[in-house]
Amino acid sequence: MWCRFFHVISSLKLTVICLSLALVLVFVGTMAQVNFGIHEVQQRYFQSLFVWWPSGSQGFRIPVFPGGHLLGGVLLVNLVAAHVRRFRWTWRTLGIHLTHLGLIIILAGGLFTDLFSVESFMRLAPGETKNYSEDPRAMELAVIGESDKDLDQVTAIPEARLKKGGTIGSESLPFRIAVRHFYQNSRLQPLDKAGQNALPAATEGAGAQLAVTEVPPAIAENDRDLKSAVIEIVPMRGETAARAPVTWLVSGQLGEPQTISCAGKTWRLVMRPARYYKPYSLTLKKFTHETYAGTQIAKNFASHAVLADPERNENRDVLITMNHPLRYRGETFFQSGFEEGDKATILQDVYNPSFIAPYVACVIVAAGLLFQFGYHFVGFIRRRKTGHAQ
C-alpha cells in the first residue's frame, strides 16, 4: 500500500499532470484579472488550496479546481519523492539534480514568502517623521488614552478581532468594547440625505448624524473596502448598568478621532490602517519627481530622507529611488508612488525573510540547465562528427 503510494507520488505522470493543471490555473487566473482585481484573483486562484465556485466566502460552494498552494505543494512533494526514489550520482544526471534542487528552493521560498512576508506602506510629506508603516488593507481600532503628557497609551484591536464580534476587553482599559456590527465595505451618508427611513448609526459622536449601509466588497484594482463598525462601550460591572446602551460608529472614513469618557478619564477612539511600529524612524527631506524635458514621461522619482535609529546610534541621509530601495534591519523600502501634486511620497515597506531564495535558486537552476543541455549537445555534436567521418 505504502509502496504503491510512494510509486504514484514520485511518478513522472503526476509531474506532468500537475504541471498541466498549473498551466490551466495560471491561464484562467490571468484572464480572470480582466474582471476581478489582482488581489482577489491571487487569493482565489493562487494562494488557496482549491478554487471554489461560486466565489463568495459564504454559503454553499464546491471546489472546482486545485488551487496554487495545493498544486505547488504536490509538485514539491513529487519532486522530493522522485529524487529520493531515483537519485543516482552520475555526471549525466548532475544537471537534472541541480535544476530540481533550485526548483525546490524556489517553491519552498514562495511558500515561505506567502506565509511570512508582510507588506505595508509609509506615506511621508516633506518634513514629516514616522516610525511606523501602515497596511491599507487591514484596519485596527485604536483606543488612545492620555496617560502622560508625552506618551500616549494605545490599545489597538485588529480588524480580524472586530470581525469576529462579541465583547473585547483589555487590562489597560476600564471598559469593554462590544461589537454590534462590522461592515466589510460600507457607505456613510449624512442622515438628512440618506432617505426618510434612515436611522442614525450610533447614539453618540459622529455616528449620531450619519447613516451607515453595507455595500458589496470592492473589486477594482485601486478600490479599497471602506470598513466600519458600530461598537458599544460597556462599563465594567458596578457602573450604571441601567442606562441605555452607548454606541459609537467607527470607520476609516471618519478622519478625526472621537473622544469618549469613562470613569472620569477620556480616550480617543479611531479606526485607522493597521500600524507596524519600528525601532527607527524616517524623515522625508525632499521628494523629487523628474520628467523628460518637454514631456509628461516620468524619468525618476526619488525620496531624500533621514534614517534615525537611536538603538544602533545611526543617523544618516538615505536616498530611495526607482530600482534602488533602502534595505535596513531586514526590511526593504521601495519608492512605490506619490500623492498628486507631489505632496507626499509613498514608500512600500516589505519584510520578507526568504527574499534571498530566488536569487540562489536562479543561479543553481541556470547552472543545472546549462550543464545538462550542454552535456548532451556536445555529445550529440561529437557523435555526428564521428558519424560523418565514417
Partner: protein, 619 residues
C-alpha cells in the same frame, strides 16, 4: 558555373542593398531639406533630427511616412514638416489626416466614400466638437473604448500634435516673424521700465506696455504649445547643459538675458524666407544653423546625423527583402535538389543578418540602451535571435531547414515590427521603472531569446507537419533530424525562458518589493516555462514521441504569442507599457491557425502522405 551560384546570389543581393543606400541629395534649385532634416532638436525627451520628427509625426497623423497630394504629387516627410513648421497655411490644405471610421465621418455629416485623408482646413470647423468627443473618449479606459472612441481619440491627438508642430518654430499665422522679434526686443527696455515704475506705485504708460504685452502673450502661447524644442542651452550662459528649450521659451528668457539666442533668430529668418519662397535666403540661414550646431552641439549634431543616415538606409526593410530572397532560394534548393541554392540561401541570410545587426546596433547606439525596450524592438530582436539560431542549425544539419526557418521568422517578425511602429517614435524614452540598463540587458533580453526559441521550435514543427501530411518528402531520416532540432531548440527555450522569468522576478523584487505578483505579463512568462517543462517531462516519461513533440511545439506558438502580445491586450497589470488592441484579430487568427495545424497533425499516421508507404515514426 553552378559552383559560382552562391557567390552570384550574394553579389546580386549586395548590389541591391547598395543601390537602395544612396543618400538623398538636395535639389540644386530648391530648399535644402536634407540639411533641415539633419538639424538636431529635442522632442519627446530626446535629441533627434528633424527627419525623425517628420517621419514619426506623419506616421501618427497619416499612418504613412509620405504624403500624396490630391494632384498626384508625393511629398516626403521632411517636405511636409518644413511646410507645417514654416508655412502653415500651405500645410493646412494638405490631406494629412487619415480618418477611416464611418462614425467619425458621420459626426461631421460626411459620408464615407473613397477619400480617406482630410486636410486641417476641412477639419477646422469641427475642432471644438472633436475636442469634446475626444475628451469623453479619453475618460474611458483604453481597453474599454469602442472603435469610434478610439478613432475620435486618435484624431484629437493627431490634431493636437499638428497644432503643436505648426506653432513650434513660429506662430502659425506669422508672416514676418523676425520683424516681430525685432519689435519685441526694441519695445522691451521701455516696457521693463514701465513695469518697474508700476511696482513702485507710479503712473504707467499703458501704450508703451500694450504692444510688448501682446507679443509676450503670443510667445508664451508658443512656448506652451511647442512640441519641438530646437534651441540648445546657451553656450555662454550658465545653467545645466542638457536643457533645450522651445522658441517661445527662449524669447521669454530674452527678458532676463537681454538678448535673443542666435538659434531662435536664425530659425525666424529661415522661416520667413521659406514662407516667402526665397530659396537662397532660406538655404543660407539653414546652413548657418547647421554650422552653429556642429560647433556648439557637436554630440547632438553627430547623433542626429547618424540617425538621419539610419532613417535613410531603412536597414530593417532591406533585411526583409533579403529574407524573402533567401527563403525563395531555399525553396528552389528543395524543388531542384541543388545544393548550391542552399549555399546561396545561407550566404544571403548571412548578409541579411549583417544588415539586421547593423539596424539593431544603430538603435542601441542612438538610444544608449540594450536592444529591447518596447514591443517594437522586441519584434526586431526576436527575429534577429531566431536567425542566428536558425543559421547554427543550418550549419549543423545542412538540409535547408534551419535557413528556411530563419528566413521566414526573420521576415515575419520584421513585418510585425513594421506594424508596431505606427504609434510614433520607436526610440521613445523609458518610464522611470524601466530606466535600468542592467535589467533591460539581462531579464528582457533572455526572456526575448526564450520567445525566439519557442517560435523557432514551433516553425520546425510546422515544417514537419506540412511535409509529413501533404507531401511524401518526410523520410524517416528527415523526420528524425527535425525532431532532434525541435527537441534541442525546446531545451534552449527552457533555459532562457526560465532564467529570464526568474531574473524578471528578481527585478520585481528590486523595484516593486515582491518577487512574484501574478501580474499578467509574469504569468505569461510562467506559462512558457510550464509548457516547456511539460514537453520535456512528457518526452522523458515516454508519454509522447515524435508526433506528440511536434503537436506540443505547435501549441508552444500559441502560448508564446499569448505571452508576447495577448497579455498586453488585457489592459491590466503593471507591465502594460506596450498596450495595443488593433492586433487582436491577427493574434486570434494566428492562434486558430496553430490549433488547426495541431488538429491536422493529430490525424492518424495512415492519413499522412509521407507515412503511407513504409513505416513512419511511431505515435
Amino acid at each position: 558555373m553552378k559552383r559560382f551560384a552562391p557567390w552570384i546570389a550574394l553579389a546580386v543581393a549586395a548590389l541591391w542593398i547598395a543601390s537602395n543606400s544612396r543618400m538623398p541629395k538636395p535639389a540644386p534649385e530648391g530648399f535644402d531639406l536634407v540639411a533641415f532634416g539633419k538639424l538636431p532638436v529635442l522632442s519627446d525627451g530626446r535629441n533627434k533630427p528633424f527627419d525623425t520628427v517628420a517621419r514619426t509625426s506623419l506616421l501618427i497623423i497619416r499612418g504613412k511616412q509620405t504624403l500624396r497630394l490630391d494632384d498626384g504629387r508625393t511629398l516626403d516627410a521632411r517636405r511636409w514638416l518644413a511646410d507645417v513648421v514654416f508655412n502653415a497655411p500651405a500645410a493646412d490644405a494638405y490631406p494629412s489626416f487619415a480618418i477611416n471610421n464611418p462614425e467619425v465621418l458621420g459626426l461631421f455629416g460626411w459620408e464615407q466614400n473613397k477619400r480617406k485623408y482630410f486636410s486641417y482646413a476641412e477639419l477646422h470647423p469641427f475642432l471644438e466638437k472633436i475636442d469634446t468627443q475626444g475628451g469623453q473618449a479619453d475618460a474611458v479606459e483604453q481597453a474599454k473604448r469602442t472603435p469610434y472612441q478610439t478613432a475620435i481619440f486618435n484624431l484629437r491627438n493627431s490634431l493636437m500634435l499638428y497644432q503643436r508642430l505648426k506653432n513650434s518654430l513660429r506662430p502659425d499665422d506669422a508672416r514676418d516673424f523676425a520683424g516681430e522679434i525685432d519689435a519685441y526686443m526694441k519695445a522691451m527696455p521701455a516696457a521693463l521700465e514701465e513695469t518697474a515704475k508700476s511696482g513702485k506705485g507710479g503712473q504707467v504708460n499703458q501704450e508703451k506696455l500694450a504692444g510688448f504685452a501682446r507679443l509676450t502673450a503670443r510667445f508664451r502661447e508658443m512656448a506652451e504649445l511647442a512640441n519641438v524644442l530646437p534651441v540648445p542651452p546657451d553656450p555662454a550662459g550658465g545653467g545645466p547643459r542638457e536643457e533645450w528649450i522651445s522658441v517661445g521659451a527662449s524669447l521669454l528668457q530674452a527678458i532676463s538675458a537681454g538678448t535673443v539666442s542666435p538659434v531662435t533668430k536664425t530659425y525666424a529668418l529661415a522661416g520667413d524666407a521659406y514662407h516667402a519662397g526665397n530659396v537662397t535666403e532660406f538655404n543660407r540661414h539653414l546652413h548657418g544653423l547647421s554650422d552653429w550646431m556642429a560647433k556648439n552641439e557637436p554630440e547632438a549634431t553627430g547623433r542626429a546625423a547618424y540617425e538621419f543616415l539610419f532613417n535613410q538606409l531603412e536597414p530593417f526593410y532591406q533585411a526583409m527583402g533579403l529574407y524573402v530572397l533567401a527563403f525563395l532560394l531555399v525553396c528552389f534548393s528543395w524543388l531542384g535538389g541543388n545544393r548550391n541554392h542552399g549555399a546561396a540561401a545561407f550566404y544571403v541570410l548571412l548578409l541579411a543578418l549583417a544588415v539586421h545587426t547593423f539596424g539593431l546596433g544603430s538603435r542601441m547606439y542612438l538610444q544608449g540602451r540594450p536592444p529591447v525596450t518596447n514591443l517594437y524592438s522586441s519584434a526586431i530582436f526576436i527575429g534577429w535571435a531566431t536567425v542566428i539560431v536558425g543559421l547554427i542549425i543550418e550549419k549543423i544539419f545542412r538540409d535547408g531547414i534551419g535557413s528556411a526557418c530563419a528566413a521566414a521568422i526573420g521576415f515575419i517578425t520584421l513585418i510585425i515590427a513594421h506594424h508596431l511602429a505606427g504609434s510614433g517614435d520607436t526610440l521613445e524614452m523609458l518610464q522611470a521603472v524601466l530606466d535600468t540598463n542592467i535589467w533591460l540587458a539581462t531579464h528582457v533580453v533572455t526572456i526575448t531569446i526564450g520567445y525566439s526559441a519557442m517560435f523557432l521550435a514551433g516553425t520546425l514543427a510546422l515544417i514537419y507537419v506540412v511535409r509529413g501530411v501533404f507531401t511524401r518528402t518526410l523520410t524517416k531520416d528527415s523526420a528524425q533530424s527535425l525532431s532532434r532540432m525541435t527537441y534541442g531548440v525546446i531545451c534552449f527555450a527552457t533555459l532562457f525562458s526560465f532564467v529570464g522569468t526568474v531574473l524578471g522576478g528578481i527585478w520585481a523584487d528590486q523595484s516593486w518589493g515582491r518577487f512574484w505578483g501574478w501580474d499578467p505579463k509574469e504569468n505569461g512568462a510562467l506559462l512558457i516555462v510550464l509548457w516547456c517543462a511539460i514537453i520535456l517531462h512528457a518526452r522523458w516519461g515516454g508519454f509522447i514521441r515524435q508526433r506528440g513533440l511536434m503537436v506540443m511545439a505547435l501549441f508552444g506558438n500559441v502560448i508564446t504569442s499569448f505571452s508576447w502580445f495577448g497579455v498586453n491586450m488585457l489592459g491590466v497589470g503593471l507591465h502594460s507599457y506596450g498596450f495595443m488592441n488593433k492586433a487582436v484579430p491577427w493574434l486570434a487568427g494566428f492562434m486558430i491557425s496553430q490549433l488547426a495545424l495541431m488538429a491536422i497533425a493529430s490525424l492518424p499516421p495512415a492519413r499522412w502522405r509521407s507515412f503511407q508507404s513504409g513505416p513512419g515514426p511511431l505515435r
